[in-house]
């Protein structure tokens, strides 16, 4: 006897319950709940995946990334070497000549080849003769077909008969290494120094160099050379800064890494080593660099010293064209040195790497210079993935730091040499960055072209004497003793070795 006290039980049967009321969502038409377009985390989508690029895109993007990273490496290494001297206080003070030179212990022979330089050579010889060192001789080398220069040199020799000898070079065709080798045969000093006919040499330089040889036991001492006329034009500004960073800073790095291309003048080599090297390579367009490479490879101890007061002052080539010719000659010389392969004898891999890198540098620089604008254009016109685009921007970073360093260098240069740097100069420095890269590229391309055509002759480099401008600092406020005062500011032909095919 069961009864049914609960009404609900009548409404649903166990196992098949029907709703008591049909649940109804209120429909006022005001909204439709949105549940579409949900993407859950697809387990296969978790983690990193290779982007879905076409093979062409893969190649293109990879190339962009590789080029960007290479450019960055080149720019960073250039920048770091350029800043080498200022890495630390000790490093900077180590780059200078000593403040209190030791007693002179060596004898010197100074070689001064001159060609069509009667305007400057006399004064250069006179000034060299004023060196405060006690044991040195000067040999002026002139061509047999250049009576003007020969006359000037002989007059100077007459004024300083105990110091100056004149040697006439009658070889054909003429070039600087031939002239130097000729003079070397009669050089009597323990150490042989080279100067160009237009160089302004500080009278204390020999004493300082002598001391440096004694202090360091060096086999080679490379002194500083400085172009001065940065206000002449936009390219002279950049050329001056190139020299400044090269001699002030970077060359010290190369000396430390025991592979160094030497400069063309203010370079001092022991006679013993020059006898070993049989002088300079007369067949090389960059005989100075070549000698440096051979000496480095043989383990000679090369010391670089730069003290702003005693640098040898020079000027940039007189025209853009002669700058281009000069650069072409250097680049061709670098190619010859690279091809000659003396650097392969360097003892360590590191040194060989530096040698190869340095000697290839003009061409790397050419590529770099051209790729930077190209990459900017690419970046603005081609749509690439964010990551690739960001990587392709990386080379710009060291380039901009480079610009900041150059600005600093220009300011420092002006302060050191007592020349006021105008706003215009800074402006030129900045806008000249890309055009100068293009110029460097041009120089490299031209060198390759000429080398392939077998044109290995010397091209003329003109000098205007702008570094001897009247605008040199006076005693007050200037950190540098003026040594060029009183010389003519007129454009002068300077030492130039000209090959037949270029005349």
């Amino acid at each position: 006897m069961s009864f049914d006290p609960t009404r609900l039980t009548t409404l649903a049967a166990a196992g098949d319950p029907a709703p008591l009321l049909t649940p109804q969502a209120p429909q006022d038409g005001s909204f439709v709940p949105n549940r579409g377009a949900s993407t859950g985390v697809d387990p296969s989508a978790v983690g990193f995946h290779l982007p879905a690029w076409t093979p062409l895109e893969w190649v293109g993007y990879s190339a962009m990334v590789i080029v960007a990273l290479l450019l960055t490496a080149v720019a960073v290494s250039t920048l770091w070497w350029m800043l080498h001297a200022w890495r630390s206080k000790d490093n900077l003070s180590g780059t200078a000549f000593s403040e209190n030179p030791l007693k002179a212990e060596h004898t010197f022979t100074l070689l001064v080849p001159g060609r069509h330089e009667e305007e400057v050579m006399g004064q250069t010889l006179d000034r060299l003769a004023q060196q405060d060192h006690q044991g040195f001789e000067i040999i002026a080398i002139v061509g047999h077909d250049d009576p003007g220069t020969e006359r000037v040199a002989r007059e100077a020799a007459a004024r300083h008969p105990e110091l100056i000898r004149v040697i006439v070079d009658d070889s054909v065709p003429k070039n600087k290494p031939k002239a130097l080798n000729l003079a070397l045969q009669t050089a009597k000093g323990e150490i042989v120094g080279v100067f160009d006919a237009e160089d302004e040499v500080h009278p204390r330089l020999l004493s300082l160099v002598d001391s440096k040889f004694t202090e360091t036991g060096a086999d080679v001492v490379q002194g500083g050379v400085q172009l001065m006329n940065f206000q002449s034009s936009w390219w002279s500004l950049r050329n001056v800064l190139e020299y400044y960073f090269w001699f002030r800073s970077r060359l010290h790095f190369h000396a430390k890494s025991k592979f160094i291309p030497l400069g063309g003048n203010t370079v001092f080599v022991t006679k013993k080593w020059l006898d070993w090297s049989e002088g300079w390579d007369a067949g090389c367009l960059a005989e100075d660099c070549e000698l440096g490479v051979r000496l480095s490879s043989a383990g000679a101890n090369v010391v670089v010293a730069y003290t702003p007061e005693v640098v040898t002052r020079e000027e940039t080539p007189g025209s853009f064209t002669s700058l281009l010719k000069q650069r072409t000659r250097w680049n061709q010389g670098f190619m010859q040195v690279l091809g000659k392969g003396e650097w392969k004898k360097l003892p360590t891999f590191r040194q060989r790497f530096y040698a190869r890198y340095l000697l290839t540098m003009p061409f790397i620089q050419a590529v770099t210079g051209l790729l930077i604008p190209v990459s900017i254009i690419l970046m603005l016109t081609v749509k690439v993935p964010t990551g690739v685009a960001l990587i392709s921007f990386i080379p710009l970073a060291p380039t901009l730091v480079l610009l900041a360093v150059e600005i600093t260098g220009l300011a420092e240069f002006g302060r050191t040499y007592g020349i006021k740097v105008r706003a215009l100069d800074y402006f030129r420095l900045i806008w000249g960055l890309i055009p100068y890269q293009v110029f460097l590229a041009l120089g490299a391309v031209r060198a390759v072209y000429r080398q392939l055509r077998g044109q290995n002759g010397w091209e003329k480099t003109e000098h205007t004497g702008a570094h001897r401008d009247a605008d040199v600092p006076t005693e007050t406020g200037a950190t540098v003793t003026p040594i060029g005062a009183g010389r003519t500011a007129e454009p002068q032909p300077a030492y130039a070795m000209v090959s037949g095919d270029e005349r």
């Binding site: 098949d16 319950p17 109804q24 949105n34 890495r87 630390s88 383990g299 600093t408």
Partner: protein, 661 residues
């Protein structure tokens, strides 16, 4: 083969190589020997600091919304291949969570924790330890004694104020080591060029990690200029300045490459992100107004460690007069002054940047006082000012230590023992267990990754902040809050609701279906009623009336037995509708006994959906279970378990409405 071959040398003048000496010890051994004294002080401090930060890291403090955001963004980098889990809008530079992602990616930290934020906290431990080492190095570079450097490191690692903030996943914690590295490198003596470039780079990274660190720039520049050698100064400063500018520029380029530099329709932009941070942040109010955000923020710091705050500020003032600490003292005082400027916005983690410098100053001033005191004992001539000053400072330090011991003990005990995050963990678990996984949820960001990992669709787990600030989210929810089914509220959600109409509406038109914890730690799971508050209330009232009617009938059923308490609960309509239906069905088969109803965790005050019954009509307990599981999907219990007291029947949490007339 140990002989070195002499290269044939053309020269004879070169000095001979020195005779071969005793083979030097291995580099590592030599390093250890030279630094043994330092390591003996530093390593124990690092170990203790690390343990204090790591132990109960997941328990205290309760995780907050920001932590979830940075963690989710780091997670998005590794798991979604995106910079953020929402549209990146330039609120902060992304470098901070990229670094967190780096840590979690390298150590696989996300796999180690059920709560993703804890992986972020582990990353914080790493960054804090690095910072602690850098504080040691910085102290030593400033010529503090080992003991003083140890004090600086220990205060940084162990102050309760520091522990609280170091545990929390803040970008500031990631930026601090970079800032300290920047100062350390700015003080380099050898290789200054490389040091300064490194310093500028590290500072750039710090700023791109947390933009507020830009505040330290003048002081870094000051330290750098003061430390720079005259002869190389122009180059070192120009180069490092350029590097810093470039790192900053990288962020601009990054935005430009993405086409997001300048504001425009349909995309976020760097400019608008910056103007948000600089322009639109509301003032935090005044310190004098105890209700203001400013007061709350500062009060929180104050409660955590008054002693450190007082000593830190005093040290900063004294540090002004000591040459070696001056830039750091000015930095701290300047940062404090910035905080108190009119209409300032004080971010909660603002204090993080000050912690290392406060610790450093406390130690440095103490070190100076000790040295002055010793110099006097040693009979060195001293001025009366230094004599009195040193003594006064040592007395003050002693008082501070006396006050510090009980304060730190109490606070650190709390950090090591209390589990404030439990409500969050429980709420997450509850949602995973009870909320249908095709639901759309509005949540605190600190649960985001966990819920997505639990299987909710990524687009259906919506960080509440984005519901009306992110175009992509708005497009998916054209009806705003109505398109979501649940809202999980935390303290962040409750306090931020005022700024978001959608969240406010969702709050108003929702009812609690589970609640965990209390006070500021309370976490509620709320069901949103898209038809609106009034309709929902009406439905609930109707439902409740039906529940009362049905409950009363069951209580009166002669087949039903139970305590008076159970009958009262039934008559009050507190039993779940499905339970009522099933119970009445079961009563038709025979007598049913029911134990007093107990709420499930988090469901106090809500309808009971768990009941313990014994029924003779349905047969054996096993037969009862079969009967219960075959009542049909609408009424089916989620679990039926047999215990000694009877059969426990639990119905799913979300109760369909309208089951009872």
């Amino acid at each position: 083969m140990t002989t070195t071959q002499e290269r044939p040398s053309v020269r004879t003048l070169r000095p001979e190589t020195p005779p071969v000496e005793v083979r030097p010890p291995s580099r590592a051994g030599g390093w250890l020997r030279r630094h043994a004294a330092s390591l003996l002080v530093l390593l124990p401090i690092l170990a203790i600091g690390g343990v204090v930060q790591r132990l109960n890291m997941a328990g205290s403090p309760q995780r907050i919304d920001d932590e979830g955001t940075y963690t989710a963004q780091a997670w998005a980098i590794g798991h979604l291949g995106e910079l953020t889990h929402y549209t990146y809008w330039y609120d902060h530079p992304p470098l901070g969570w990229i670094q967190i992602a780096g840590y979690t990616g390298l150590t696989n930290a996300f796999a180690r924790y059920d709560q993703a934020v804890m992986a972020g906290r582990e990353a914080m431990l790493f960054f804090t330890l690095v910072s602690a080492i850098l504080i040691w190095l910085l102290s030593r570079r400033l010529k503090l004694s080992r003991a003083a450097a140890g004090v600086a490191t220990a205060v940084f690692a162990l102050s309760p104020l520091a522990v609280q903030f170091h545990r929390t996943v803040y970008l500031d914690n990631v930026a601090v080591p970079w800032l300290l590295l920047a100062f350390l490198l700015a003080l380099s003596r050898k290789n200054q060029l490389a040091g300064f470039i490194g310093s500028a780079f590290a500072f750039g990274v710090a700023v791109l990690t947390k933009e507020t660190f830009l505040l330290a720039l003048p002081f870094l520049a000051w330290v750098m200029i003061r430390n720079s050698d005259r002869s190389t100064r122009r180059y070192t400063l120009a180069t490092s300045g350029a590097v810093l500018a470039l790192v900053g520029l990288a962020y601009v380029v990054f935005a430009a490459v993405r086409g997001e530099l300048i504001p425009g329709p349909g995309h976020t932009s760097l400019i608008s992100g910056l103007s948000f941070q600089l322009g639109t942040r509301d003032s935090s109010g005044s310190i004098l107004d105890t209700g203001s955000l400013f007061f709350k923020v500062v009060n929180q710091w104050w409660i955590l460690d008054q002693v450190f705050i007082v000593m830190g500020l005093l040290s900063a003032i004294v540090g002004l007069f000591l040459r070696r600490t001056r830039p750091f003292a000015v930095l701290v005082l300047f940062a404090v002054a910035v905080m108190f400027r009119p209409n300032s916005y004080v971010p909660v983690p603002y204090v993080i940047m000050l912690l290392p410098f406060g610790a450093l100053l406390v130690a440095a001033v103490g070190d100076t006082a000790v040295k002055a005191y010793r110099a006097r004992r040693a009979g060195t001539v001293t001025t009366s000012l230094t004599r009195i000053g040193a003594t006064a400072w040592l007395v003050a330090s002693a008082v501070a230590i006396a006050a510090l011991v009980p304060l730190w003990t109490v606070q650190l005990r709390g950090f090591l023992l209390s589990d404030l995050d439990q409500p969050m963990v429980s709420a997450e678990q509850w949602v995973d267990d009870n909320v249908p996984h095709d639901s759309r949820l509005l949540v605190d960001d600190s649960m985001w990754v966990d819920l997505v990992k639990d299987g909710f669709a990524q687009d259906n787990v919506i960080w509440f902040y984005k519901i009306d600030t992110d175009g992509a989210v708005e497009a998916q929810s054209p009806n705003g809050w109505r398109d979501s089914d649940y809202l999980v509220t935390t303290n962040s959600v409750r306090t931020s609701a005022a700024n978001s109409p959608d969240v406010q509406d969702a709050l108003k038109n929702s009812t609690v279906v589970a609640s965990f914890g209390e006070g500021t730690e309370q976490v509620d799971v709320r069901q949103i009623h898209p038809q609106g508050e009034a309709a929902a209330k009406q439905t609930a009232e109707t439902e409740n009336a039906a529940q009362i009617a049905a409950g009363t009938e069951i209580a009166a059923n002669p087949n039903f037995t139970g305590s008076d308490a159970v009958k009262k609960q039934l008559e009050a309509g507190q039993l779940d509708s499905r339970a009522l239906v099933v119970l009445s069905e079961l009563l038709a088969t025979g007598p049913v006994d029911m134990k007093t109803l107990v709420p499930l965790p988090g469901e106090e005050g809500l309808d009971f959906r768990s009941l313990v019954i014994t029924s003779s009509g349905a047969g054996t307990p096993a037969e009862l279970k079969t009967w219960l599981t075959s009542v049909g999907s609408k009424y089916a219990p989620s679990t039926v378990t047999q215990t000694s007291g009877g059969t426990t029947v639990v119905f799913p949490a979300i109760e369909p409405s309208g089951l009872l007339g």
